[in-house]
Subunit: 356 residues, 2 copies
DNA sequence: AATTAGCACTTGGAACAAAAGAGTGCTAAT
DNA sequence: ATTAGCACTCTTTTGTTCCAAGTGCTAATT
């Protein structure tokens, strides 16, 4: 009888779906009686009980204690997300809010992501985050300088991912426009386009020779290394942290502490996002991944692509019993819009606000 | 008998001090028996009880319920901080850690503050924050441009407080080096040094005339407004959020939520810090100030001065029963060091790392 | 063979009572 | 002015009972 390609009869699927959704909605364990009363199935509570017992044996459900209803296990949520989830139809209001964001045509990824994480948080009512994953491939493609006074100038570094970093440089000896112009020329010829490993001693020597000021060359190279490090190491922005507290699973205890700690350290989350390849919305339930920190929470995130490369991700974090349908739809839409924005030909529109 | 200039006998002061310190240490209400046993006073528990009753009447102590010991009231903490606190001698290790930070000679305030908030958090074991207060006085003192390609360039804005902001600008029509050089010249002559109110319509008109591209002028001015807004609105960085959770007063409940919410919104905290004038370490206990959000927590922060002006602040946030002696000493030292770093003549040292 | 009604069983939570413990306030003695 | 002593108050803990929820199993039914 019926569809068993993934090992569950249609009825079991229906029951599992009903339990997951009831639990997501109410937060309480779900009993057999509730399922029969919800009229999605025609059989009796005894039948449901038998099926539930089997689902528990198979690992899809758990029982907090003998006389309680069932709650979905992580495997249960996983099956739900992968197989049972129905498309969520976004409301006009939600779509409007996303379009609102899209109108702000910012060209700088950092600021787009920052804004997007706020929107994700406010649309889903979970904690939102935005991330720029690690990528060794980023280099400085161009150097510019701007003289400030006789003892300081600004070094501007344009990275291959489009981001711009600046550094105030204080010099030991007096400098003039000629010096810094020469410096930026030299950097553009010798260092631009190289990554950290490619900047070798010979290159540094020739830079020193070229500008004829070893102290300056030294200082500048230090700054460049630093910026390369920043470009490489990802960034993580979090917004709507306080929303976590409204869910009883975080209301007390150590789970919240682990999450906050993970946000502080950043690296676990960066790893988690950087390691995934799928372009679709990713759902990481509990400690499915090797990342230990997020045991009792779910990460959902969607990569942001620009010209075929993953340049960032936006997502939300919340309890296991997350409103997956809605979150998936929201992030898919939002992330897709952002990727599209990044990829669309930039100069086709009328001359309104082209920047941010 | 004895010192009553602030209305408390010496003995009452001793008792209050003992109670505050015992409570800071243990977190539990303090009873009369504990005080007598701690051997700081020679009188009996009954005497202590009488004194405690009086201290409660005077508003320095509170009783959670009849059969509990006393805990300090906000007024009690206030008196303790203002009058009873003994100098905390920082350990060699703590001083070493601060000196470590000081070695990183960064010239950019943002990055110093960011780092400093982390150090403050790790030294005190409370949540650290760093802030750049609002200040209407900041203007853009200088504009630079860097051409990227025929349709985009980077606008660099150097602010009067030394910070540097950049904006990617996408243009509708093709541009060349000549265009952007002319643009920066025009901006430097017409707009540099003005604050948002001073940029009037006539000025914008003459800019438009000067560069002869109204769409470009428009886009650029939008970016400038935006940056002026950013420079004006303060920044708030928080680190060590997870440390809050180790204190039982935040272990559950809404207080934590209010704090997290305040960190999200930022404005209450910015107001709080921006409104204070004292250069010393400030201690805001509970809702002493008009800021409602932080009812059951203490803010301690020290302003950072550069050339006589307050350019930032670093501080920590924690429960009312905070280790005030230690926090005050740490922030005073740390903040003082940073201010000194910002003010010291910058070019006197040997040619080692002058930047960051 | 699958479903279902019925019932015994398990368990956590609520309600209540009693006891223990901590600390006070007051009185009377020093 | 201080202090010993004690009655009093209030929270916390512990134990008991009771109840409701929900299960698993068995026997009857389709």
């Amino acid at each position: 009888m019926s569809n068993r390609i993934d090992g569950l009869s249609d009825r079991k699927k229906l029951i599992l779906k009903a339990i997951v959704e009831a639990h997501i909605q109410g937060g309480e364990p779900v009993g057999s009686k509730y399922i029969t009363e919800s009229k999605q199935l025609t059989c009796s509570s005894a039948t449901i009980r038998n099926e539930m017992a089997e689902l528990e044996n198979m690992g899809y459900l758990e029982q907090p204690h003998t006389s309680a209803g069932r709650i979905p296990s992580k495997q249960g949520y996983r099956f739900y997300v992968d197989t049972l989830l129905e498309e969520y139809a976004m409301t006009a209001k939600e779509i409007a809010q996303i379009n609102q964001l899209m109108k702000i045509k910012m060209s700088e990824l950092d600021r787009i992501l920052d804004k997007a994480s706020k929107v994700a948080s406010s649309l889903t009512n979970y904690t939102g985050f935005a991330i720029k994953p690690r990528s060794r491939a980023v280099t400085v493609t161009r150097f510019e300088t701007a003289l400030i006074d006789s003892r300081s100038f600004i070094l501007i570094l344009v990275a291959s991912d489009g981001s711009v970093k600046t550094r105030n440089i204080l010099t030991d000896s007096a400098i003039d426009l000629h010096t810094v112009t020469g410096l930026s020329q030299a950097l553009n010829e010798l260092v631009a386009g190289l990554d950290a490993e490619e900047i070798t001693l010979p290159i540094m020597m020739s830079l020193e020779n070229r500008i004829g000021d070893s102290a300056l060359a030294n200082t500048v190279m230090k700054s460049i290394y630093e910026v390369l490090g920043e470009l490489d190491g990802g960034e993580l922005k979090v917004s709507g942290l306080d929303r976590l507290l409204q869910y009883p699973e975080f209301s007390d205890s150590s789970d919240l502490g682990e999450l906050l700690g993970a946000f502080e350290r950043k690296d676990e989350i960066l790893d988690l996002v950087s390691d995934t390849e799928s372009d679709r919305v990713n759902v990481v339930i509990g400690s499915e991944s090797s990342v230990k920190v997020i045991n009792n929470s779910t990460f959902v995130f969607k990569p942001i692509k620009s010209k075929g490369k993953t340049v960032g991700a936006i997502g939300v974090i919340g309890p296991l019993r997350m409103d997956y349908a809605r979150v998936l739809a929201t992030l898919d839409n939002l992330g897709g819009n952002i990727s599209q924005l990044l990829n669309e030909p930039k100069h086709t529109e009328k001359g309104d606000n082209h920047d941010g």
